[in-house]
Symmetry: C2
Subunit: 372 residues, 2 copies
Amino acid sequence: MKFDVSTTDGKARRGRVTTAHGSFETPAFMPVGTAATVKGMMPGSVSDTGAEILLGNTYHLMLRPGAERIERLGGLHKFMNWPGPILTDSGGFQVMSLNDLRKMTEKGVTFRSHVDGAMVELTPEKSMDIQRMLDADITMAFDECTPFPATPEQAAESMRLSMRWAERSKEAFSERPGYGLFGIVQGGVYPDLREESVEALKNIGFDGYAIGGLAVGEGQEAMLEVLDYTAPMLPGDRPRYLMGVGKPDDLVGAVLRGIDMFDCVLPTRSGRTSQAFTRRGPLNLRNARHRDDNRPMDADCACPACTGFSRAYLHHLIKCEEILGAMLLTWHNLHYYQDLMRGMRDAIAEGALNAFATEFAETQALGDIEEL
Amino acid sequence: MKFDVSTTDGKARRGRVTTAHGSFETPAFMPVGTAATVKGMMPGSVSDTGAEILLGNTYHLMLRPGAERIERLGGLHKFMNWPGPILTDSGGFQVMSLNDLRKMTEKGVTFRSHVDGAMVELTPEKSMDIQRMLDADITMAFDECTPFPATPEQAAESMRLSMRWAERSKEAFSERPGYGLFGIVQGGVYPDLREESVEALKNIGFDGYAIGGLAVGEGQEAMLEVLDYTAPMLPGDRPRYLMGVGKPDDLVGAVLRGIDMFDCVLPTRSGRTSQAFTRRGPLNLRNARHRDDNRPMDADCACPACTGFSRAYLHHLIKCEEILGAMLLTWHNLHYYQDLMRGMRDAIAEGALNAFATEFAETQALGDIEEL
């Protein structure tokens, strides 16, 4: 795996990551393809939005259809018809957030499958093996996402367990050309713990560094503060990935602080719940005020939803619970997110990211144009 | 509205209908776009399957979003981003089949809206007005779909009411260049009633003639028998439309008997319930036997579902209740139906429809190829 930084602008970087299945430009937003599909999207349409790398969820895929089955069928890229790079998470976060019937030990986590009720064990070694079977270009180390709030003692204990798991992940990871392993910084909102975590990971050595345990309830200000002091501690020649983030303004704030990669379910989940992100802030298309509005959601957007359909039509689809409503809003949201990333990459190349961020905030604050 | 027959082969005809929004080749299958969307499909994708004309449902659209609203917003073509021809039904059939709270008189039907509970009246005059507001290229006369079974007396009474409504429909229909009105033959499974109905409609004079009251439980044999004696009574220079039909072999049987147009929810509804139509008969992708099968649904199909994805993947999507499963199966089914119509049109042009029908029946009877 290769990472080339082409330009920097303040702390922000523009670059390119090259993997076994092709390259992607950074800063990059990775749409989430939980169960081997970006919900409601053809893979070719995801690619049309400008997305170059997807995220897959180890927890979901190991339970259904099973990592062994995906390996037999030729790997996740072939299975879901996405020839480009794929990053998989380690399964750790999903076990913690989605499964109440779990037991954690030094060895790993045991939990009950929501698919067939079987007891399943996930350890750093198993997570590495599953991600290898999925054929992930970027594998994430197995960690515990420290809950929020956590006392310094709880955060330290959790982070140190994750660091021992990071070491076991590195040992178990099977090195192959073009494939990479990322470590995950934990430590909650405590600078000394974040520093200890970064040092531990740097000693092990990873192809990239993720910042975990954020966007879990601490709020944007606290999150950006963690990035303020954590990002600069990370090696400059490796990509930095802020996991599970976020809203459009989170992305801008994080890129300003030196983050290169993101993933979040927000654009896709919002697309299925009638929420659209636009250049002038969010829109809820379920709202009756749209029912006679012949304008597009976002007049400056080139996506098929904005160029082909009115707000009135999208509102109608949502009221009728038509699949096409979810499809079009998801498409728009993913397109909007990729437009935002493109805009930031271009701004970095021109040394104009601060101006971009100011204009972005001003435009978002304008709110939706009044009805005609 | 114009209809040109280019070739005949036995009773079957190949032709082209030209409307205000473009033309379509016949025999034609019209995908159903009930609520101003072919469920789970982008309109451009529907067009990519080869479909040239859609059907819209007056009953659904008048209740939500409302015909007046669609007219204000620029008509149904613009609203749903389908620039090609659209046929709308009269609303009569849907009131009978979907609404239990209805009352029928000589004047029309009164029923309670499932959307807001209001009492709504539908008459031949209102149906014409609504279809004009929707801007349908082909308007259907308002009729009662005679239930099955019906005694000769019931069928006669129902048919004669429909004929009086057909006359009122013709009077109320607003003639415009490129727009047409179709009458609907009723009369159940009784040849003398069908003949009486055809004569009544011919005396009124329509741009096309539909055969209604079939595919309501009488079975394929009885349906084809009605076509055997009804189709030849219809004017040869006007398109003939068999409403609400059907399965692939229904279409072949009906084209052999001189039918030019079809609509049916089967390909789209089946696509949302894991059923695929293939050259070797139907497949249920929910079945566990597909879970390790890396082959496409139909090796001879050029649709995105068959060229991009395995049965194993489609099975996985269905098990996970992923939107993409419904999207891909719907796409395939519509593509298969259009392939079948293309095949029949080509066979008619070559005077080879009988051979086509024999091969079709033989291939369908083979059943699915065994698993590798």
